[in-house]
Symmetry: C2
Subunit: 279 residues, 2 copies
C-alpha cells in the first residue's frame, strides 16, 4: 500500500497544534518499514544525549541503554521478539534496561544491602523510567526526521535477550525501540485515539466516559484500518481482548526472578498483612 | 538561592544540541517551585492532545489520565505523596493511571476473560506506557514554556489516591506530574548525568564502564549540589543507597493486589517451573 498521496493526519474536531513541538508529538506514529538509509553516528549521539537527560526516580540513574547496530545482533533481537521484520529492518535497535546493578554499586560502596530490586515499588520505578527514556529517545529521533517503533516483543523471550546483551544480575531488558529512516511508501497515517474526555478526565475517574469512549473508538479505529487498506484487522476491542485474555509472554516473572527481582512490599519472611483482594 | 545569574547548562565536553527540540530535551530539569501564574485551559488541552498520541502497547490504550486543578484536591495529592510542597504549589497535577478497566470492557464485549492485569507482563506494560505518556506530557508542557516534575511519591499511599480519584478495579495510579510556570528565582541548573559511555553501551552491557561511570558521577553530582548551594546533600551513591536499601513505599504490591493485579506468568494454579534464582 502507498500512502504518499494521503495526509498524515485524519481530520478531527481537535484544535490544531499550536507549536512545532506539539505538531511533532501529534504526528507521532509507529513506523514498521525502513528505507535502509544510514543513521550517522553524530545523529545517534545527539539522540542519546537527549535521552540521557530524561528524569529517573530519585535521580538514581537506574536505567541503561544497549545500542545495537550490528546486523546479525539486530536480527537476533528480531528473532527474540518473535520474528518481527520491523525490527530486522531497522538501522539501530536500542534496548532499555532497568539497571539496579549500577545502584547496587552505590549500596556496596556504603556497606548497605540494596533491596529495591526485591520490591514491587522498584519494579514499577524501573519500568516507568524505561518508558520515560523511550519516549524521550523517540521524540529526539523524530525531531531529526527519523522514525521509530516501541518493541515490547523483547519480553517474548527476555532470558535470550539477557544472554545476548550480557546483562548482569539486578538488570532487566524491559522494552526496546527501533530507529531508522522511514520508507515513505509504507508509512501509515497517524492512528486515531480514544476521545480526549475519556482519556484525560477532570478531577475524578469517569467510568461512563471511558465506556462511551471505548465504544466510539471501536468505530474510529475500524474506519482507520479500512482507510489504510488493512481490512483484515479486527476492531480495537476484538484485537485487544484477544491478546489480553492470554498470558502471551509467559516467562517475564520467572526471568525477572532469575535476575534477582521480587514483587514484594517488605522482607520476604515478614508476611505483611494485605487488604482483601477485589478479584 | 537565586540562579537567574547562572547558565542553564553546566559546561561539558558533550557536543552541543543540533536542533531546537534537542535543546529543549537537553535542558530538561525538574522544577519544584512555581510562580503561581495560571495555566490557561487551551494550553492544557494542547498538552493533553499531544500526550494522548503517545504509543501504548499493542495499541490497547491501557492508560488514562486524571487531571487535577482543584486546590484542595492538589493539596490532598501533596499529602498522599508525603507532604511535598512542590506538589501543593503546582497549578495542575496529572496522575497517570494504568487502565485495564477500559481493556476489560473490550474483553466483556467479546465474552472473553481478561487476564493481562494478573500477569507480570501486564504490570510492566502498564508502567512502561505510563512513563512514555509522562515524558510526552512533560516535553509538550516544556515546549510551551511550562515546568514540571515527575512525582513517584503518589506510590507512598496509593490506596488513598485510588480513593481520592475514584479509580475502579484493574486500574492503578503509577506516577504523576506537576505542571506550572517556574519560579525562575528558584530554578536549578540542569543536573549532570553519568558519562554517556556508561549509560548507552554499544552492542553489549559493559559492567566496567558502568562502574567507572558511577565513580565519576559521584564527584560530578557532588560538585553540582555545591554549585547550587545545597551543601547538605550527599553524593549520588550515598543518597541513592540510603533510599534503595529500604522498602520505602511498603504498600505498592498489596494495593495492586487489592485492585486485582497479580505478578504471574500464567494461571495461579498452574505452578509453572521457574529457573533457579540468582539472588
Amino acid at each position: 500500500m502507498t500512502h504518499n498521496d494521503v495526509p498524515d493526519l485524519v481530520p478531527t474536531n481537535d484544535p490544531e497544534p499550536t507549536s512545532e513541538v506539539l505538531s511533532l508529538l501529534r504526528e507521532r506514529r509507529s513506523v514498521r518499514a525502513f528505507s535502509g538509509e544510514p543513521v550517522p553516528q553524530e545523529d545517534l549521539t545527539q539522540i542519546l544525549l537527549a535521552t540521557r537527560q530524561a528524569p529517573t526516580s530519585i535521580n538514581a540513574e537506574g536505567l541503561s541503554l544497549v545500542v545495537l547496530r550490528d546486523r546479525d545482533r539486530i536480527q537476533a533481537v528480531a528473532d527474540i521478539a518473535g520474528g518481527q521484520p520491523q525490527v530486522a529492518g531497522a538501522e539501530v535497535v536500542v534496548v532499555f534496561v532497568v539497571d539496579f546493578y549500577r545502584t547496587d554499586l552505590a549500596a556496596r560502596k556504603h556497606q548497605r544491602e540494596q533491596v529495591v530490586h526485591r520490591s514491587a515499588e522498584g519494579i514499577l520505578v524501573g519500568a516507568v523510567d524505561a518508558g520515560i527514556a523511550l519516549a524521550t529517545f523517540q521524540t529526539a529521533a523524530h525531531s531529526l526526521g527519523y522514525a521509530t517503533t516501541a518493541i515490547g516483543g523483547v519480553r517474548n523471550d527476555p532470558a535470550a535477550l539477557i544472554e545476548l546483551l550480557g546483562l548482569p544480575a539486578h538488570t532487566f531488558p524491559v522494552v526496546a525501540s527501533t530507529l531508522g529512516v522511514a520508507d515513505r511508501q509504507k508509512t501509515p497515517q497517524v492512528k486515531p485515539r480514544v476521545p480526549l474526555e475519556s482519556y484525560a478526565m477532570e478531577e475524578r475517574y469517569d467510568a461512563q466516559a471511558v465506556e462511551h469512549g471505548a465504544q466510539v473508538y471501536d468505530e474510529l479505529l475500524r474506519d482507520w484500518w479500512d482507510a489504510q487498506g488493512m481490512t483484515q484487522m479486527g476492531t480495537w476491542s476484538q484485537d485487544t481482548s484477544s491478546m489480553y485474555s492470554r498470558y502471551y509472554f509467559p516467562t517475564v516473572a520467572a526471568t525477572m526472578e532469575a535476575q534477582g527481582f521480587r514483587f514484594l512490599d517488605g522482607p520476604e519472611d515478614a508476611a505483611p498483612e494485605r487488604p482483601a483482594a477485589q478479584d
